[in-house]
């Protein structure tokens, strides 16, 4: 079972709280930025390096997947192609009222045909989380 790994959950983990071992967490690099950026104030470089390493190590854990975002993900996540081949930007992407983090996460996490484990429910959880 997949679930969205939101910044609040990341904070809990960084505070040493245990998360449900039966869940598979999916997040994006936008969540990593948000967590590390909000934590960096008041931290020395050595402390920040430790925090950064902790966040990166999450990805090595069997229960976590942090989606990075490059050219391939941009092309697959930002655009929709209609039946006549017409190209449009995804409506969720052009919604400037939502935060930049939302857009990073939406594009990174938008289900893609070539990622077999992906789940539309994960995306809905992320949208719900940002809408709350």
């Amino acid at each position: 079972m997949f679930t969205y790994f939101n910044p609040k959950l990341l904070q809990k983990l960084l505070n040493g709280e245990n998360l449900d071992q039966n869940l598979y967490f999916i997040g994006s690099v936008g969540d990593v930025y948000l967590a590390t950026d909000s934590c960096k104030e008041g931290l020395g470089f050595a402390e920040f390096e430790k925090l950064f390493s902790s966040v990166c190590l999450l990805d090595d854990h069997v229960n976590f997947h942090i989606q990075e975002l490059g050219k391939v993900e941009l092309l697959e996540g930002m655009f929709n192609t209609g039946p006549e081949g017409d190209v449009t930007l995804d409506e969720e992407v052009t919604n400037i009222i939502k935060s930049p983090h939302y857009t990073i996460n939406y594009i990174a996490l938008k289900p893609k045909e070539n990622i077999s484990f992906w789940d539309h429910d994960v995306l809905q959880q992320m949208i719900d989380w940002y809408n709350d």
Partner: protein
């Protein structure tokens, strides 16, 4: 000496526009505009010319963050209005020139974000550096040697960033 040029969102938007209107896809060069100053034009065209003539990148590459692309998409009607279409936007990304690199939003960039100050000072007034601008700065810091091309007054106040 290799020196990469890092574009922020507005410079990227101008580049995409000229990519189609000035045939940068072929052998065209960037023209001067209200955003492209003489200095910027020379620095960017030096990279394009070297690639067009020699197929090499000894002067450096043009870099922009994946976040700049996201910013244009988010505010497409404002930023790209009457400049380029969503189809052209997609074509540009698909056929990126070899001298142009989109730096991914990856975990390692978070390390460079720490080098960006939370605030800058305009006289005695404190002004925050928002995360989106910090991402451009972190992309700059991720390069060995670079110049950040931006009009952002706050970024220009960051001491250890070489801006053009």
């Amino acid at each position: 000496m290799i020196n990469d040029l890092v574009f922020d969102t507005h410079i990227l938007s101008e580049f995409i526009w000229q990519y189609f209107t000035n045939d940068l896809r072929g052998n065209g060069l960037l023209a001067r505009s209200n955003i492209i100053t003489d200095e910027r034009q020379k620095a960017i065209n030096d990279i394009i010319l070297e690639y067009n003539n020699e197929g090499t990148f000894s002067k450096g590459l043009i870099i922009t963050s994946a976040f700049s692309v996201i910013e244009i998409a988010r505010k497409f009607d404002i930023i790209a209005f009457q400049k380029f279409t969503s189809s052209q936007f997609k074509i540009f990304l698909e056929e990126l020139p070899e001298y142009f690199h989109i730096a991914p939003l990856e975990k390692a960039l978070s390390f460079h974000l720490h080098k960006v100050p939370k605030v800058v000072y305009d006289g005695s007034t404190q002004k925050p550096i928002e995360l989106p601008d910090a991402i451009h700065c972190a992309t700059y810091f991720s390069r060995d040697s670079a110049t950040l091309i931006t009009n952002d007054a706050r970024i220009k106040r960051i001491e250890n960033i070489n801006c053009l």
